[in-house]
């Protein structure tokens, strides 16, 4: 028990740091993904906006969902949400707490992506190059172009090699302008997110501390209970399997002894541990039969109490109980037959 206790404490204290670690790794992965990504603006009037905004908004959405997928507690939340009420009430505050803490962690990587994208400037330059104010920034001496032509020319701003509107508006001027707007948006976004995070964290102790402590305790409890239940079931399954197999071997040995018409051989009292472990199977033929039987006809998932071992071997009803009558249910207990 002590060992389990230490492991649980380690897991508990470390679950938070484990989750924070995954969060940090995803944020770094998101920044790395952006720098590895080969951004290629299409430089065509309507495609630019779709491409630029798509790169700005679609990967964060994917990263957000990935944040949920990588979080182990999602299944715990779903289970607690969908379980029938039974004898235990459901507390929506606990569900909300679990969801909020998961959502907060999942938000970090998308926010990093959007910030890095805006601070870099390529996406906004690509998306909004056709909206540059040519009247203020451009060369006023240039003869007017039709709307469509102007858009076509402006759309090529991000692609310096094919840009042919230098007389209309200098490429560097337009790029600097768009990048300045993009970086200003980026820093404002970063400031906004940091302020939100700060407010969320600091307003909590001011208003809802007691409710928070309660929700946190019960969400940890649900997590620990689930782990302990799995642990107990695994322990039970282990014992079940052990006894089942033990009974199989004993049944086997008794069956064979009965089939050969001599009484089951009981290990002599002074034979020692090794003889007991042989479980009455002591020659090649018997072992082979046991193995064949294990493969062909696995025993039922039903452990009979030890007192009934002597009546093993022939199909039949169990002996009626010796205590006052209780409602009887017919139970067919079938035994393995070689």
């Amino acid at each position: 028990m002590d060992k389990f206790r230490m492991i649980f404490q380690f897991l508990q204290s470390n679950q938070e740091s484990f989750m924070n670690g995954i969060c940090g790794i995803m944020a770094l992965a998101s920044a790395q993904m952006y720098s590895a990504f080969d951004f290629n603006c299409p430089c065509l009037p309507r495609y630019n906006l779709a491409y630029g905004l798509g790169i700005l908004l679609v990967p964060p959405f994917i990263l957000f969902l990935l944040g949920f997928v990588l979080n182990n507690n999602v299944s715990m939340l779903a289970e607690e949400w969908r379980r029938p009420r039974g004898q235990r009430g459901k507390d929506p505050a606990v569900l909300r707490y679990m969801f909020c803490s998961m959502a907060q962690r999942a938000m970090i990587a998308p926010v990093v992506w959007v910030s890095v994208t805006l601070l870099d400037g390529k996406c906004i330059t690509c998306a909004f190059c056709t909206s540059v104010p040519v009247e203020t920034l451009g060369n006023t001496s240039h003869p007017g172009l039709s709307q469509g032509d102007m858009k076509r020319v402006l759309a090529r701003i991000p692609c310096k090699e094919i840009y042919d509107g230098q007389e209309l508006i200098a490429n560097e001027v337009a790029v600097r302008y768009l990048r300045c707007i993009s970086q200003a948006l980026g820093w404002c976004f970063v400031l906004l997110m940091t302020t939100l995070a700060f407010l969320v964290r600091s307003l909590r102790p001011c208003f809802t501390q007691a409710a928070f402590l309660k929700s946190r305790y019960w969400s940890h409890y649900i997590d620990i209970e689930r782990k302990l239940f799995d642990e107990t079931c695994a322990e039970h399954a282990r014992s079940f399997a052990k006894v089942c197999i033990q009974q199989f071997f004993e049944g086997m040995s008794t069956d064979l002894a009965a089939a050969r018409c001599h009484p089951p051989r009981k290990a002599p009292a002074d034979a020692g541990e090794a003889a007991e472990k042989l479980l009455g199977i002591t020659d090649q033929g018997t072992m082979n039969t046991a193995l064949k039987s294990w493969h062909r006809c696995k025993p039922p998932l039903h452990l009979h109490p030890p007192a009934l071992h002597s009546s093993n071997g022939w199909a039949g009803e169990q002996q009626p109980p010796a205590h006052p009558p209780v409602p009887r249910r017919e139970m067919a207990a079938y035994y393995s037959r070689v």
Binding site: Q9, R83, R88, T194, F198, I224, F240
Partner: protein, 306 residues
Amino acid sequence: MDRFRMIFQYFQSNSESVMNGICGLLALASVKMYTCFDFSCPCLPRYNMAYGLGIMFVPPIALFLCGLILNRQSLVMLEEWRRPQGHRRKDLAVIRYMCSSIMQRAMVAPVVWIVVTLLDGKCLICAFSGSVDPEKFVGFANTSPVQVQQLLAKVPCKDDELMRNNTSRKAVSRYLRCWSQALGWSILLILIVAAFLARWLRPCFNQATLLQARHWSNYIDIEQKIFEETCCEHSRLFAHKCILHFFESMRQEIKLHSFSLPREGEGAEGEEYLLRGITDQDQVNKLLKVWYYEKPPLDVSQVTQR
């Protein structure tokens, strides 16, 4: 007991060093962010000042807030500040001490950003290139005011076609950079002198109060950590009892409805005990079904009273 003592000592020594570590990491991150950031001045008359001053002051605010968020002690301080009085008095000196130590640590990264920005010079050149006196510089002296503004606004952009080989541009740039670096070094000197004086002169004023405040702020921090740990321990034990009680009640129910021989005599005999009376597939399935459809109530009072 020994284990708890080791844990206390670990928390005690680590709280300060963890916070100092975070502070240092944020300062390094701030320098790294500045070097990675691709500064590109818009070189347009009104935009320059907004951009330059924005880059100089907005990131420090974000870094300051980050410093507050990442510091665990800020939550502890807020809780202590807002808690109802109850049976325990509130000591404002402790709260003030915690607040000042949090603020000092949170101020490091923003100050690093501002100093690095000033020493590098790009921000100030971008922000104030339009504000220099054109008479001082040969290339800008004899042009109309509107044109002068346009030209001065383009000074930060070295590669602009108008400014490519303009010596006056370099003169303005050097002038502004000199001011920027002077400002940067002065701020750095003032801050270091202030920190030095504060540390040296502190023992002269209220040392006893300071020691008390520091002790009790550490105490509050440790108390909260231990409370969380105790709650975890308690919820583990609670869950353990709850599950055992559940298995036991399942076993009673099965005994009531089936007619298998009573197994009272088995006792705690290794495997038999671990099986807890659940010995066939149907019983296991029933147990798992009941666990999902009807979780037991959160009440282990009968178990603990036995």
